[in-house]
Point group: C2
Chain length 246, copies 2
Amino acid sequence: MTQNIYDNDAFFSGYSRLPRSVEGLDSAPEWPTLRSMLPDLQGRSVVDLGCGFGWFCRWAREAGASHVLGLDVSENMLTRARETTPDPAPNPVIVYDRADLERLELPAGSFDLAYSSLALHYVENLRALIKSVHRALVPGGHLVISVEHPVYTAPDRPGWIKDGSGREIWPLDRYLDEGPRSTDWLAKGVLKQHRTVGTYLNLLLEQGFALSRVVEWGPTEAQIAQYPQWAVERHRPPFLLVSARR
Amino acid sequence: MTQNIYDNDAFFSGYSRLPRSVEGLDSAPEWPTLRSMLPDLQGRSVVDLGCGFGWFCRWAREAGASHVLGLDVSENMLTRARETTPDPAPNPVIVYDRADLERLELPAGSFDLAYSSLALHYVENLRALIKSVHRALVPGGHLVISVEHPVYTAPDRPGWIKDGSGREIWPLDRYLDEGPRSTDWLAKGVLKQHRTVGTYLNLLLEQGFALSRVVEWGPTEAQIAQYPQWAVERHRPPFLLVSARR
């Protein structure tokens, strides 16, 4: 099973205080771009891989989705998601369920959209997951995902440093050495799987997806005007966003 | 017009002494991977965008191509290509022609493969070129290209540096700031166009190409055993290789 860091109390406590946890999608700076990559959800069936607190599931319901399955491995996340999702019984649009993305089984041809935000870089056996998701989509169905960008996950010591002239640079190394990276973010020893951009894309292509759009996300000028501390993120994108179709 | 650095005598003289110039494809370390992305060329029509000394054109002829058009903006390169390509008149398989990739016009639906090795990062108006190439391919036709990898072209000061612990790192910055980069390589002020991986791929997708494979190339273990000085290239890929179909 993927390291279930969200059920580590210290990590969960820190994560719960992030703007994107408290305020939801609108405080996730990459959300406007990710949203622009989504199909019309009116009457559509959606699965969210790594649904966290359920912000996207609730957004999908508002956008008209007929059925939303939110999956997460963390009991902490699912409990919070359920608490914050009032849904009229007996036919709720949103169902939350516990699932290990390392061995996901979904009914074939049953979703119009598979969505995943910042979860797949935790998954070791991504090929099996992509295969399972491809099978679970209807023909023509959409996949829209974000992951931490490979230039962000690659370095042995991720963090800005100054070069000889005092300019801020990102110390890229080990980009082509794929595999686990242990970082200290909200807790010690958080495990992520580093993969190259090419590997993410080829895993999709090999399973039969057709790529639609690939975005290496960084803050816009308007966002930097509002949050000047984000300017440095344009030196190396923090997120990779991909849309594809079965 | 793209800066025609190959007709700069100092640059051309230096370039002519590189292993890939003297010994051809087999001394280009990314060639085995690029070759693996090519379709069967037997009886096929090929255009090479930025053909240089004609190594690929001659290889394509050996591989059975029926017609090969080698295009380059550099008179120096074309002269050398013609000198080193004995071809039986009156019906030569290979034709070399001068062309500015900024305003390329090709007959519609006339090629089975468009190939380009390490040339497109010099082109300013890549959208127009991709559009022109898409139109020039037959339906189902192949595009196989290599460019300098965006993490390689991005930095203001490209070159390995040591971090605080004396470890070699690549000083990534300005990745999301697309546009010209001036570097000193074989000559001063060589102009390249920096684009992100996403931009390269989206330009292809927007013109109607379906992506087949995306490779961020680095040396294999066998290559590093033979050339230990290449090991550092695994910290950040020097080349991006893409195959796609019309």
